[in-house]
């Protein structure tokens, strides 16, 4: 796949990347199977439609409440974390976040870092930043480990290697890890386990994300099935957790509905194997656990989404991935085609705030507006409405006030604006309308066969010989 071989895909090249992905039969097979399986698993976890809708509304309220008090909740979180012995850092940009992590690494003369799983660290391109400065970052989540070996990016936020089948993983391990070729998944996982084991205790630092940061108790809650998250946050002497400023809830009991929604929506599980709640570093009488725990809170455009009441809902996201599992576009092109850390529907509404609409201008158009994402979102983010809103922001005049987003007007075109002005005039003036209908029907033979993108996949529309209005007037006249 050409988009992977050279540089990582960029969102600006989305249209081209999507077309290439559509032509990749293996990719389409892998994703079709994977998405069908994930959709089924989720459906089986929500047999009671009433419970599901009430829980979604509840999840939405819990997230909205935290966001409605976000600055206070964040300050309370920090105060309680600090009281518990956790060091809290704030970063407006990914550069600042990387510098914070690097600074901690330098203070500990760290050479090796092991990662639980963190999409925010992907946002930071942390592995690359630290690697260039002499700190090796190794992924320990099986899916992340696999894509790291392939020198690829994850193609899904929950299942990073979902674009691969067992044969491809077998070949990868055989080539890169010098082991026998086997497609037996149990054996492949054991190979991963054995390879990664020693890395846990050779690492100087463990990095993780955070699923929910709890202000009331000063606690970081992490979910996982494998155990690598617990390993990465327990074995190395230093644990650094990185997360976005929106991943915070007020109270401990707030995680209960969110946890249920998250695991059932993401992987169709009633609960993950481990729910890990961290409230501080190793105490004096404890025998394991990190001596230092750090939390890095990253903005990176979230405050831009926050500033607008409608767009703020983007930040409800609990990163379950259900939206992309149900998206007909994502299913056909896979995660890499988006060229973004977060692909699929959530990626299309959150990335423009992180990177600006200039480079992400085509992402909000990568949708048929079928609405499946909005229906399955466990925290009721109105994704289709937000996509439409972002499309509007992209075609607004760049200088129009008020300014809501970086890159406003990235798809603005004077020509297009004029065409729509003319269309509006035509459809709101009865006289003009009748003239246009007359011309359209009487001159139908002049319709060209090629109307650019429209006729790439369709035949050109041919107007009828007489308009419906004409026929109706005649018919009514006869009566």
């Amino acid at each position: 796949m050409s988009m992977l071989a050279d540089t990582p895909a960029q969102p600006i090249a989305f249209t081209r990347n999507a077309r290439e992905a559509l032509a990749d039969a293996q990719l389409r097979r892998n994703f079709r199977g994977a998405m069908d399986s994930l959709m089924d698993k989720r459906r089986n976890q929500f047999p009671d439609g009433d419970e599901l809708e009430r829980l979604r509304a509840f999840g939405n309220r819990v997230r909205a409440r935290a966001l409605s008090k976000l600055p206070d909740v964040l300050e309370r979180l920090e105060a309680n974390l600090v009281r518990n012995g956790v060091q809290v850092h704030w970063a407006e940009t990914v550069e600042e976040a990387n510098a914070i992590v690097h600074d901690i690494a330098e203070r500990h003369a760290a050479k090796k870092l092991i990662k639980g799983k963190s999409m925010v660290s992907e946002e930071m391109e942390m592995n690359h930043y630290l690697g260039a400065r002499g700190v090796d970052c190794l992924e320990s989540d099986m899916g992340e480990f696999i894509v790291q070996l392939r020198e690829e990016k994850p193609s899904h936020i929950i299942m990073p290697a979902i674009h691969l089948n067992a044969g491809q993983v077998a070949k990868l391990f055989h080539d890169k890890l010098d082991v026998e070729y086997t497609e037996d998944v149990d054996r492949l996982i054991q190979i991963g386990r054995e390879t990664l084991r020693r890395n846990f205790f050779e690492a100087d630092i463990g990095v993780s994300g955070v699923n929910f940061a709890i202000a009331e108790t000063g606690t970081l809650l992490l979910v996982e099935n494998e155990g690598n998250g617990r390993m990465s946050t327990t074995v190395p002497p230093v644990h650094i957790a990185v997360t976005g400023i929106e991943k915070v809830v007020e109270n401990l009991r707030d995680v209960i509905p969110l946890l249920s929604l998250l695991t059932r929506s993401a992987t169709g599980q009633p609960i993950t194997t481990y729910v890990n709640m961290i409230s501080g570093p190793r105490k004096a009488d404890e025998l394991d656990g990190p001596q230092e725990v750090h939390l890095v809170l990253l903005d990176n455009g979230r405050s831009q989404a926050f500033a607008d009441g409608e767009l703020r809902q983007t930040l409800n996201c609990i990163r379950c991935g259900a939206c992309m599992n149900h998206c007909p576009v994502y299913t056909r092109i896979g995660g890499h085609a988006y060229g973004t850390v977060y692909p699929g529907p959530i990626g299309k509404i959150v990335t423009p705030h992180m990177l600006g609409l200039e480079t992400t201008r085509d992402l909000p158009t990568a949708s048929s507006m079928c609405g499946a994402c909005g229906e399955v979102c466990p925290v009721k983010i109105p994704i289709p409405s937000l996509l439409r809103r972002l499309r509007e922001e992209a075609v607004r005049a760049p200088a129009a006030e008020p300014h809501h987003m970086r890159g406003q007007g990235a798809k603005h075109s004077k020509k297009e604006t004029l065409v729509w002005k003319a269309w509006r005039a035509l459809n709101t003036s009865p006289g003009l309308y009748r003239v246009a209908m007359y011309a359209g029907t009487r001159l139908r033979g002049l319709m060209p066969a090629d109307i650019g993108p429209w006729t790439r996949y369709r035949s050109a529309p041919k107007p009828a010989a007489r308009s419906l209005h004409e026929l109706a007037r005649e018919h009514l006249g006869e009566q």
């Binding site: 994977a34 399986s37 009671d48 009430r54 509840f58 309220r61 909205a64 409440r65 409605s68 600055p71 964040l74 300050e75 704030w90 970063a91 407006e92 989540d141 099986m142 899916g143 290697a161 979902i162 691969l164 067992a166 993983v169 149990d186 492949l188 996982i189 054991q190 386990r193 084991r197 020693r198 846990f200 205790f201 108790t217 099935n225 494998e226 690598n228 617990r230 327990t234 074995v235 109270n251 009991r253 209960i256 509905p257 249920s260 992987t267 009633p270 609960i271 194997t273 481990y274 729910v275 890990n276 709640m277 501080g280 009488d285 404890e286 025998l287 394991d288 656990g289 405050s303 926050f306």
Partner: protein, 223 residues
């Protein structure tokens, strides 16, 4: 202004003139669908655990040490990590002394740095207590302590957990409430709901990714 002040400043400016959303927490929604009759509770917990390859046995306060010996013997395991400072550790040690046999018991008694290699590569099984369980999701509650540190329930490929049936609650809300978690959480609080697993390769489930490959829960009914 530093990053924190700038970020909070932006957020505060965005909220100017707004009122916070009220806390209308719906307790019924997170408890009513997840309630079990007393005689169903343990059965539900066992079913949930077994559905994800957990092994469960119902036993008694008098019998569980022998169940442990049997489970280890069946797997050809002759060494067990168990805390001599806990009541259950002492019970087991006494039982092993009475039975004779070749089972060696060792405690997690030094900081992990002092014996990482042995813990990771020469410790086939561990035994810990629990602080209770949750029937709705088939979960054990563990609060690691100086006697039973965090890695004890994570590193050895077999983890045996003792669960008192009387400490099993219907759902997470009830458990958090009954155990007053908001009074203060430990360094690390855990819910464990089966052996380690992953479906990262072709969505095919495989067990024993990084955590224990086997989880055996002994449910003690008269404790």
């Amino acid at each position: 202004m530093n990053a924190k002040e700038r970020i909070l400043g932006k957020l505060r400016a965005s909220l100017a003139g707004t009122t916070p959303v009220a806390d209308d927490y719906d307790i019924g929604l997170v408890t009513d669908p997840w309630r079990y009759a007393a005689d169903e509770r343990i059965a539900r917990l066992r079913r949930m655990l077994e559905a994800v390859h957990g092994e469960t046995r119902v036993t008694t306060a008098a019998e569980w040490p022998q169940r442990v010996l049997e489970a280890l013997a069946a797997r050809g395991i002759d060494e067990l990590l168990v805390s001599p400072a806990t009541a259950h550790g002492r019970s087991l040690a006494e039982h092993v002394r009475e039975q004779g046999g070749a089972l060696r018991l060792k405690g997690y008694e030094r900081p992990v740095e002092a014996w990482k290699d042995e813990l990771f590569f020469h410790t086939p099984a561990s035994l810990t207590g629990t602080l209770g369980g949750i029937a709705a999701t088939g979960s054990l509650v563990l609060w690691p302590s100086p006697q039973e540190p965090r890695l004890m329930s994570l590193v050895p490929p077999l983890h045996i957990a003792l669960l008192n049936a009387s400490e099993v609650r219907d759902n997470l809300f009830e458990l958090m409430h009954a155990q007053r978690w908001t009074d203060g959480l430990p360094t690390n609080a855990l819910l464990v709901s089966g052996p380690s697993k992953t479906a990262d390769i072709q969505q095919t489930l495989a067990y024993g990714a990084h955590g224990p490959k086997e989880l055996l829960v002994l449910v003690i009914e008269d404790a």
